[in-house]
């Protein structure tokens, strides 16, 4: 029987790449993003929604469950960033970032978690960033929202532990996507210099960590945050 996965934020960037990777491995995937689908594949269903819209997210997740009878994997990839010094940051931006990065992750984790509980099996992967452990200036709103995701990951791993569900997070270094295209070059170089391994990440680096987290064999790995590039807390 195929693995059934939900991946959020699949229209472009890392979510799209991950979706194509797991489709190639024979997964049945439901994805979402605010925009329309950019993936045309018989095993892919797209939902155009904002991950922080609770009602729509719940309806999507229940529909996926009704269609496949299970959800094995959740990849909470949808995320947005903003670079701005604190004194120049509007509260509306803080709210927008929290809504997508934290509330969206929370809603998907809660709803998919409840379904996984019934099967006593599940693999959940959340997304953080090296900006959080590196405490990057100018990224307060973004890094704080991901700090919330990390804490959610750790507590969820405990709440779900006795039900065969693991919850982990991956923290990429910069990987060239639209998310970081507006970060000035000197800032980016300064950031890379703080990594143990001083280079951009790539999608294969990310797939490797997620392959590990979602492997059936990783049933003793939960509540962990793995950063790429040798960044540590």
């Amino acid at each position: 029987m195929s693995t059934v996965a939900i991946i959020t934020g699949t229209r472009k960037g890392l979510g799209r790449e991950l979706c194509l990777h797991y489709l190639q491995q024979g997964f049945m995937i439901a994805g979402c993003s605010r925009g329309e689908s950019s993936i045309d594949h018989p095993n892919y269903d797209h939902y155009s929604l904002d991950v922080s819209e609770e009602k729509k997210a719940v309806a999507m997740i229940r529909e996926v469950y009704r269609k496949h009878g299970k959800i094995d994997v959740l990849i909470n990839n949808a995320g947005i960033a903003s670079m701005n010094p604190i004194p120049l940051s509007p509260a509306s931006t803080a709210l927008r970032i929290l809504n997508t990065n934290y509330i969206g992750t929370f809603i998907f984790l809660r709803e998919v978690g409840k379904i996984m509980l019934k099967k006593k099996y599940g693999r959940i992967v959340n997304f953080t960033t090296v900006a959080t452990p590196l405490k990057l200036e100018g990224e307060a709103l973004y890094a704080s929202s991901k700090a919330a995701v990390e804490t959610l990951t750790k507590i969820a791993s405990r709440e779900f532990a006795s039900s065969g569900i693991t919850v982990n997070a991956v923290g990429p270094t910069p990987i060239p996507t639209d998310l970081i295209k507006n970060v000035p070059k000197d800032k980016m170089e300064a950031l890379l210099a703080q990594q143990a391994i001083k280079r951009f990440g790539n999608v294969d680096d990310l797939k490797n960590v997620i392959d590990f987290f979602i492997s059936e064999k990783s049933d003793f790995i939960t509540g962990q945050v793995i950063y790429l590039g040798g960044v540590t807390n």
Partner: protein
């Protein structure tokens, strides 16, 4: 509608009773305690129970309700104390859903 909700909660209780061997859940009544100091479910049991009820509601009534509540863990005002309180709560959610 209320009777259908009761039947659905009883079915969920019996299912969990069979799984856990809790005899109180095998023969549920409206008074059966769920999450309570004299209850038959721990917090993980309650979560599993609620997930099952959401699915049964969806199958029976064709609507997706979301059973969450800020006072879930309260011993006084939680809707999850007994079959009766949960049925009242679910009925309210269904009414809200059809009123929208």
């Amino acid at each position: 509608m209320k009777e259908e909700i009761f039947q659905l909660l009883f079915a969920q209780a019996r299912e969990m009773g069979e799984e856990t061997g809790q005899t109180n859940l095998l023969n549920p009544t409206v008074e059966t305690k769920l999450y309570h100091r004299d209850g038959n479910l721990d917090s993980l049991g309650l979560v599993t129970f609620i997930a099952g009820v959401e699915e049964k509601i969806s199958d029976k009534f064709g609507v997706d309700i979301l059973i969450v509540d800020e006072k879930a863990m309260s011993q006084v005002s939680s809707p999850f104390i007994s079959v009766q309180s949960l049925a009242d709560y679910v009925e309210k959610l269904l009414q809200n859903e059809s009123g929208e």
